[in-house]
């Protein structure tokens, strides 16, 4: 039975949203600003009125007020209570629901240990760093034994390293506590790291909801394809294991060397921004460097999309407007292309996505 079900939900920008979130699933709602992501969370939490139906475990929740829904909510601005110390912030939900003091103490300690914030117990929110506040807010949101957690841009305000670390930690904690969670994120890469499924939302409509790999290798709409950066998908005809965790894959008349421990790759996705163009021969070894011919130039607002042909393989690349102006590229011109994958996305067997 699905834990959360939204049926024909309408509210402001949202147009007839239907969504099923499975028990213990981590679902990421991803999309540009104004897509309606936070509104969906507010509807599930009961913080706003709406048309349509929200069901938890098959039970209609539409007339259940927020405090009886049992839904934890990590707001983007965290909103830690400034008049309470860390331990009291975490204990707030338990106290308000009249849990026995021993249970409260045990739960608060358990969560502070799990989130490594025990040393902050007596501190007040004003004196905490961004990452610490985030941890306290997470502990507070799940403390009253919530089985559903909504997270609005949980790591958006943190630096990249802290954000990545906290995301992984949070993901492990949610899995351990068997919590069903819906994350709102604008960053697809972050969503990929933690989500079981990703829903791409655009202008109040769910464009695609599927496992991260399906979105990369099978974007169903033009919008999704644009949103994920229109990656080049290469079918691999042949693979040859090189030494020290490297593999050479052949796609058409191109060979690419990738860091990979296994022996077979069926498909790889190369985002356009991982393909660099140079009008002069780049120095260094010839690894993943090719001669190519420019076949198409599409200027956009801040970047220029350029299609190049490498031995019969057509690849889409992106150049900043400044770089494009400096290079003076034209259709038919020969250039040098370098592939530098910041993250390897590949299919090992069919239907088996990795990142």
């Amino acid at each position: 039975m699905p834990l959360i079900e939204l049926k024909n939900i309408q509210k402001h920008v949202l147009k007839d949203i239907n969504l099923i979130v499975r028990d213990k699933e981590l679902l990421a709602l991803v999309g540009p600003n104004g897509a309606g992501k936070t509104t969906i969370l507010n509807i599930i939490a009961g913080l706003t009125d709406y048309k349509g139906e929200v069901l938890f475990d098959g039970n209609k929740m539409d007339h259940t007020p927020p405090h009886k829904r049992g839904v934890g909510y990590l707001f983007q601005d965290l909103a830690l209570f400034p008049h309470l110390d860390v331990a009291s912030n975490i204990a707030y939900g338990l106290r308000i629901q009249h849990y026995p003091e021993a249970t409260i103490e045990g739960r608060v300690k358990e969560l502070m240990d799990a989130l490594h914030i025990t040393r902050l117990e007596k501190r007040y929110p004003q004196s905490l760093s961004g990452g610490e506040k985030q941890r306290v807010a997470i502990a507070r949101a799940i403390a009253p034994f919530q089985k559903i957690l909504l997270l609005d841009e949980p790591t958006a305000s943190l630096d990249i390293q802290t954000s990545k670390y906290l995301r992984m930690e949070l993901c492990a904690l949610l899995k351990k506590l068997e919590i069903t969670a819906i994350f709102v994120m604008h960053d697809l890469l972050g969503a990929e790291e933690i989500a079981d499924r990703i829903a791409i939302l655009h202008k109040g409509t769910i464009e695609q909801i599927s496992r991260p790999g399906d979105i990369f290798f099978n974007p169903r709409t033009r919008m999704v394809s644009e949103f994920i950066g229109m990656p080049n998908i290469l079918d691999c005809n042949d693979c040859r294991v090189l030494s020290s965790g490297l593999i050479e894959v052949v796609s058409g008349n191109m060979t690419i060397v990738l860091p990979y421990e296994g022996s077979t790759i069926k498909k790889i996705a190369i985002p356009p921004h991982d393909i660099y163009i140079s009008d002069t021969k780049p120095p260094g070894p010839a690894l993943n460097r090719y001669r190519a011919t420019v076949t198409e130039i599409v200027p956009l607002r801040s970047v220029v999309r350029i299609k190049v042909d490498i031995n019969g393989n057509s690849l889409l690349t992106e150049l900043s407007m400044e770089a494009f102006d400096e290079m003076d590229l034209d259709i038919g011109r020969e250039v040098f292309v370098i592939i530098k994958l910041r993250r390897l996305r590949y299919v090992e067997e069919f239907d088996d996505y990795h990142k």
């Binding site: 913080l47 405090h67 707001f75 601005d77 909103a79 629901q97 507070r140 949101a141 403390a143």
Partner: protein, 259 residues
């Protein structure tokens, strides 16, 4: 003269004006007379009556103001704008006029009924409570609403998702967070009630040892050309008033440093 110097000079000029006015009270200062007037039964009665009525009126005002301010701060409902405008009444209409309106009301059938079957307000101590209440409650609501507007609704939403009913969220989050603002508003309301004259004299009259609050005592002494006595009572009123405002300043400063 630069604009900076000009503006600073202007603020000093205003300060000097008030300073000179206060100092002029001491022109009629006479040590023994001051002391005699201060400990006279009539003066002590006025002080006691003023402190008592202002405190009761403030408690009732704040009791009514807290939920009203919360409603105006948090909810959108029909008539909200109208209520918000009416709250300005004590600020735009002179207290004498407000008092006159109350007196007129007590001459209408519902007013007569209330006076005969309920509490007799006209020319009694209850009239002082009423006068102070009607002139302060609007201001109390306005001040407390301002304090509550400062508290983001988000805190209450968080409390709701953690299992708090709207009432529990109000008492465990909104009230503690706006506590200092409510106390500051209460002190200002109290100071306003303490100095209330126009409505009080209209509703409760000016009866020595009966409805004689400090402002009314000042009026009565001035009317009987008792300049020394007037100066003493004004000094008492100024001391209490400025002391209160200084307390509010201290409280507001602490509030600011906390947030």
């Amino acid at each position: 003269m630069t604009f900076k110097k000009l503006s600073i000079s202007m603020s000093f000029a205003v300060f000097v004006m008030y300073g000179v006015l206060i100092l002029s009270l001491f022109y009629f200062y006479n040590g023994s007379l001051f002391f005699d007037t201060l400990i006279s039964e009539r003066t002590l009665f006025s002080i006691r009556l003023s402190l008592f009525t202002a405190t009761v009126a403030t408690l009732v005002s704040v009791f009514c103001a807290v939920p009203s301010a919360y409603a105006l701060s948090r909810f959108r409902f029909p008539g909200r704008q109208l209520i918000d405008t009416i709250l300005e009444l004590p600020m735009i209409v002179s207290p004498v006029a407000l008092g006159a309106v109350v007196l007129i009301f007590f001459n209408t059938p519902p007013g007569v009924f209330l006076q005969e079957r309920g509490v007799h307000f006209v020319f009694t101590i209850y009239g002082i409570f009423l006068a102070q209440f009607i002139t302060t409650v609007g201001i109390a609501i306005r001040l407390i609403k301002a304090a509550m507007d400062e508290i983001p609704v988000r805190y209450e939403e968080v409390a709701r998702t953690l299992g708090a009913s709207p009432l529990k969220a109000f008492f465990t989050v909104t009230i503690p967070l706006s506590k200092k603002g409510i106390i500051a508003a209460s002190i200002l309301t109290w100071a306003k009630a303490l100095g209330e004259f126009g409505a009080t004299v209209t509703i409760a009259g000016s009866m020595a040892m009966k409805t004689e609050t400090i402002p009314i005592a000042i009026f009565m002494r001035l009317a009987s050309a008792d300049i020394e006595g007037t100066a003493v009572l004004v000094l008492i009123l100024i001391t209490i008033g400025l002391g209160t405002l200084y307390g509010v300043r201290l409280l507001t400063r602490k509030t600011t440093s906390l947030t």
